[in-house]
């Protein structure tokens, strides 16, 4: 078997046959083809599928080599192809999501470990400085207090419920770090969500706002969060995300406590919250669940606001969101977003 005899082919994910072939191959390697995969490549030995790998955003995943073709360097070929494809798309900060036993292979291909859940999963990135730079950047622009707490929010968009949670938390610590989820998977773009939080917490002196970027509930740290379908995998992903938080972020900023809003609707978020209550106290971080603020008997949530927007009742959102968010919603800048929400038919 000579190495160059393999045929390299991009998988047509739209084709039912090719997709099934790929799925069957991955299942034999006890992997599955994730729903968010957007690009896949395969190496063929004649009519036989020998190796494959996929790309989802900036994450390389579903990489597998058939037992028969191990030790021929096929994974290097697959990774090279995927990296070049990602660079072509302008994505240069890349992640790999893999089983811990494959760690050495990807280390040799230029990836570095960010966090690991033993015997489950390891997350790696293609630079040795990635998370270090992110932490240093945060440290340099933020005051450091030994008695700090954290809240992670998506705020799609910022409501009175979020404001209540942040006010509640800010009153119970010296410094509150607020991280805004940065993945572009919400109706409101990250920059706008960030801006609305910023305007909404201006009256709180001890709040430090951060962009969550790649390391806090991102497609890399928590892929299943954005698939929004509950599956067993969610628990593992949640633990990976929390591992990064406890190993890298919390110690750097002196975070001793994490506040979280109660989650009545979304099963994925509820599972994440449950994992948080289990994992964080073991690392000396206290978790406090804050009940939702209610209006006329039902909790205020961003999905309720979006529901009203979808129904065309923008003026009714006035009692659910702060003045700053409301002003944005009725501004011309929001028109595109509103149109988009009205054309969609799902929760996020």
């Amino acid at each position: 078997m000579w190495y160059t005899s393999f045929r390299e082919q991009v998988v047509n994910l739209q084709s039912g046959i090719e997709r099934k072939q790929l799925q069957a191959f991955l299942e034999r390697q006890s992997l599955s083809l994730d729903g968010d995969v957007e690009y896949a490549v395969a190496l063929w030995d004649g009519e036989k599928l020998a190796a494959t790998g996929s790309l989802s955003g900036s994450v390389l995943k579903c990489i597998a080599v058939d037992e028969e073709f191990k030790y021929l360097g096929l994974s290097a070929k697959i990774v090279t192809h995927l990296v070049q494809e990602a660079y072509l798309k302008g994505r240069t900060h890349l992640f790999i999501y893999t089983k811990p036993e494959n760690k050495t292979i990807f280390t040799e291909l230029g990836f570095y470990v960010i966090a690991e859940i033993p015997s489950k999963v390891v997350l790696m990135e293609n630079t040795s400085k990635g998370i270090k730079n992110y932490i240093n950047e945060m440290k340099s622009e933020s005051a450091i207090s030994a008695d700090a707490a954290a809240v992670i929010v998506n705020c799609n968009p910022f409501t009175l419920g979020h404001r209540y949670l942040l006010e509640y938390a800010a009153a119970r610590c010296r410094l509150l770090h607020v991280f805004v989820v940065w993945e572009e998977q919400s109706s409101f773009p990250a920059e706008i969500r960030y801006k609305l939080v910023q305007q909404g917490v201006q009256h709180l002196d001890n709040v430090m706002l951060h962009k969550g970027k790649d390391y806090i509930i991102s497609k890399a740290t928590f892929p299943s969060y954005f698939i929004k379908e509950y599956q067993e995998l969610v628990k593992t992903h949640a633990r990976l995300d929390l591992e990064i938080f406890t190993q890298h972020i919390a110690p750097a900023l002196g975070i001793k406590k994490r506040f979280v809003g109660e989650e009545p609707y979304c099963k994925v978020t509820a599972a994440y919250n449950a994992a948080m209550q289990e994992v964080l106290p073991k690392h000396g971080i206290e978790v406090q669940v804050v009940p939702r603020m209610s209006l006329e008997g039902s909790p205020i949530s961003a999905s309720r606001v979006r529901e009203l927007i979808r129904a065309g009742d923008i003026h009714k959102t006035k009692e659910l969101v702060p003045e700053t968010t409301y002003q944005f919603l009725i501004s011309p800048e929001a028109e595109e977003i509103i149109k988009h929400i009205q054309s969609m038919n799902k929760r996020h």
């Binding site: 290097a76 070929k77 090279t80 660079y87 240069t92 230029g110 630079t127």
Partner: protein, 97 residues
């Protein structure tokens, strides 16, 4: 030439090297090398990278190299291509005019 965006060249296969180069405005040349033959040839590889940058007139760049035992000529070729892509340039000395 000036590095304006991220450029990449090369593969991760044996006897090749992957060069990733990005802007490092005003901070000089920064090389992060990972090599299967780091102990034997690390210094040599770094100097080839430095020399190639010097020849191309690049003063600021962050270079990440993942080497699988490439020969000097390969390193040089991958460097030239990566720089060219990163500088949005048209430096292609291998073409017949």
């Amino acid at each position: 030439m000036r590095i304006q965006q991220v450029g990449i060249a090369g593969t991760l296969e044996s006897s090749d090297i992957t060069i990733h180069i990005e802007p490092n405005e005003g901070k000089g040349i920064d090389i992060e090398l990972k090599s299967t033959v780091e102990n034997q040839f690390g210094r040599q590889i770094r100097s080839v990278i430095q020399e190639t940058l010097l020849e191309l007139g690049i003063t600021d760049a962050y270079v990440r190299a993942n080497d699988k035992g490439a020969l000097d000529c390969t390193i040089r070729a991958r460097m030239v291509t990566a720089v060219n892509r990163a500088a949005l340039g048209s430096y292609s000395p291998w073409e017949v005019k």
